[in-house]
Assembly symmetry: C2
Homo-oligomer: 226 residues x 2
DNA sequence: GCGGCTACTTGACCTCGGTCAAACAACTGC
DNA sequence: GCAGTTGTTTGACCGAGGTCAAGTAGCCGC
């Protein structure tokens, strides 16, 4: 972990993110006051379940995994945040105790905002409050999606659903590059890495080709039917 | 479904609920303006996944199940709301399209608030915005809890965890009455009713006695170890 | 090229929990 | 009381996916 300066490309990420995009520059500046920047290696732990934290986190680059701990060191991912996502805002309104752990899933640059300041701003500026509300709604929906998929879909169906969510709708055949290691994808989908691998090979018969991180889809309908 | 008048005991439930408790009476009145009340039988559907709705719902009595639909009529509960809980606030900020269905899990009385009005109030009154934010944080944590339990715990462990969440901490032995049918509990825990039944009988060896809706615990530690 | 590392895949095995069917219990209306 | 309905339990079966172990592939430094 290493402290850094906010570069102009960092700022560009910020102001294009879902949360900050809707806010005027002056408000963004106010939120950023006192923010600190740090860079992390893969597997660096940002905070641990049960910690008391006074920050809200923002991913400027890289990837962060948010997970809960179970018996005997088991871990279950509850969310994965790519560049441009904000997290741990929950703690700000729930007594600052965090209900999950977070670690960098690859080398990452993280911005830490002062949660007390953000909270004050939310109380003073309805626009900020509105942005937080929409952010929370969005997060809630994401988690609900994961829960519903866990309960309704088999492993190959979940993988198909993930692939389809990356498909520009309309096109019947397309390809894309996984934005992270299969390892991480497995965790996000609630699968063991082996199960993800098997799911991919099941989907081969529906026109899915996997080579390294590249995914190629030949027949969209076949995937949807799955 | 039948339209009703708001009684004084309904109001008592409202002002004691997590969401309304923090707000001054005048604000509560403003939110309630234009609200409608209805009573529903078990299995009455309040709205369906994909519907466009302009209401926020509040359970005055009874129980509501929120669920997603899967292939071939399968259903997966994503939340269960007892008396005093508010739901479908998500839709208000996500284009009014609702991402799940809701139905009464027992005879219920439901209050429908005008979501446009609530949203306006949130924009005008930071106190309202604050209340919504805390409500969303709480809901987010609930969903995250469910997801993590699904991924980390076996059926008996989830049931044990549910029982413990109803145990006044400190006491080693206690008993309580299930607040709803085992059917509903099974859904909430992401289990088939048969699996719930089997989980209970597994827990017998750890000092749990089940008779109808009454649950009796003889040894708290044993449950925690499970 | 080579060795060594890490990511990923494959196979064998086994456990958890879903499903179907049947028995049983509790509650309803009569 | 009785019959009919509905909620719950139990048994038998099986399929999805976790785990462990052994491979394979890609990649880095040399």
């Amino acid at each position: 972990m290493k402290t850094l300066q906010l570069t102009s490309s960092d700022r560009a990420i910020l102001v294009r993110s879902r949360f900050f995009a809707r806010l005027p520059h002056s408000t963004v500046d106010a939120i950023l006051e006192g923010a600190t920047l740090s860079s992390h290696e893969e597997h660096d732990v940002l905070f641990r379940q049960g910690d008391s934290i006074d920050d809200v986190f923002f991913v400027l680059s890289g990837l962060v995994r948010l997970y809960r701990l179970g018996k005997e060191g088991r871990e279950a991912d509850v969310a994965v945040f790519p560049k441009g996502e904000m997290f741990a805002e929950n703690a700000m309104f729930l007594g600052h105790r965090v209900t999950a752990s977070a670690e960098a899933a690859e080398a990452s640059i993280i911005l830490r905002l002062d949660s007390r300041k953000l909270r004050q701003l939310a109380a003073a500026d309805p626009e900020v409050a509105q942005a937080i509300i929409e952010h929370l709604c969005h997060r809630g929906k994401m988690t609900e999606d994961l829960l519903a998929e866990d309960r309704l879909l088999t492993a190959p169906q979940r993988v198909a659903s993930y692939i389809l969510s990356h498909c520009p709708n309309g096109s019947t055949s397309f390809s894309f590059r996984l934005p992270f290691q299969k390892n991480v994808l497995a965790g996000k989908l609630g699968l063991a890495p082996e199960a993800l691998s098997r799911a991919f090979s099941t989907l081969r018969q529906s026109g899915v080709t996997v080579k390294g991180r590249m995914i190629e889809i030949r027949d969209r309908q076949a995937l949807e039917r799955f």
